[in-house]
Symmetry: C2
């Protein structure tokens, strides 16, 4: 296992693809020899911070706890992957200051498209006034001005988003450059020959 801790901070509106991208990124990093840990803001809130609501103060509190975890993991050589909406610029800047090696990833999707994806009726309920403190509707989402990685999960493929992310980590020297293992022509033809001999091809 390689020892390079850093924190990857996914930020973006609900349904913008943060969670799926975090899961894919984690798998990818693991297969390249890094230890990773996903910290899902929603899950941490449900499991550990039940008393916190969605007011600005409570959101700060929840996120600060996550940032603290990330910092500890980072110091211990683990890639911490935080998945939170983090709508407030002030909050994200605080995380950036506290965490040594902090990478912000902005999942940038137009609200109009996200409303169509709204499988939990979150945006709808917010617009109907049944839910308050929903980022994008009742709480403004302050988009990052300079995230290390700017993704557009609504118009680029997950593969594409991942490639951009990993390349950024490589350029920053946070992960080793991957030399994808390409088989030589000889190896390819040996495989083909074997399968032919066995009657497959």
């Amino acid at each position: 296992m390689k020892k390079t801790g850093f924190t990857v901070w996914f930020t973006g509106l609900p349904f913008s693809g943060k969670k799926q991208l975090a899961a894919l990124l984690s798998t990818k990093l693991k297969s390249r020899g890094y230890k990773t840990k996903i910290l899902d803001g929603g899950r941490i809130r449900r499991e550990f911070n039940r008393k916190l609501g969605y007011s600005r103060d409570d959101v700060f509190q929840n996120i600060r706890r996550i940032a603290f975890e990330c910092q500890m993991l980072t110091e211990n050589g683990i890639v911490a992957i935080a998945v939170t909406i983090s709508p407030y610029k002030e909050l994200r800047d605080e995380c950036r200051l506290k965490i040594k090696r902090y990478i912000e990833i902005f999942c940038d999707c137009p609200l109009e498209i996200l409303k169509q994806r709204d499988s939990k009726g979150l945006y709808r309920k917010a617009e109907e006034g049944k839910l308050k403190d929903v980022a994008g509707i009742s709480v403004p989402f302050e988009p990052p001005e300079k995230p290390e990685v700017h993704l557009y999960p609504c118009r680029e493929s997950f593969e594409q988003s991942l490639a951009k992310t990993l390349r950024t980590f490589e350029m920053l020297g946070f992960i080793e450059k991957s030399a994808p293992c390409v088989l030589t022509e000889e190896e390819e033809s040996m495989i083909r020959q074997r399968l032919r001999d066995m009657g497959y091809l």
Copy 2:
């Protein structure tokens, strides 16, 4: 999730790298959208088949149960990855007959090298007569004559072994050919520019 069930049957002497390769293969297949399940012969024996010893009959019994699991998983669109020594040709041929889409992967390492790796003292104890029924020493390991995939984990890298394995699956049409996501030069330079603007580079 893609639905393409098949069974990957790792065979080879103890310490030949079957388990590590199975784990890496599983991660890789998952990240490419396939459902996988690893069936570790040693673990299944400890957890479910404690009454079985290491005699030929008992080994057959243990492996037959694993093969049955693999068959069920395969039929249900899952990639079953069996990790067993399976020293007997007759036994492996039986598995091949029973399981529809069966791929044999031979982890081929010289016994002499494996003896040096022998972290559990397995070979040593067998040679001293303290353990019986150890494949390679007291039980002959009958090497596969025509495995679909022939790996040499003692002299090729895991990356290399994995690449050969995945390419074979692709050629057989068991998995889709992967188009590794390569960034365009424009995308590369955009990333570089961003990191420069942020003062990283």
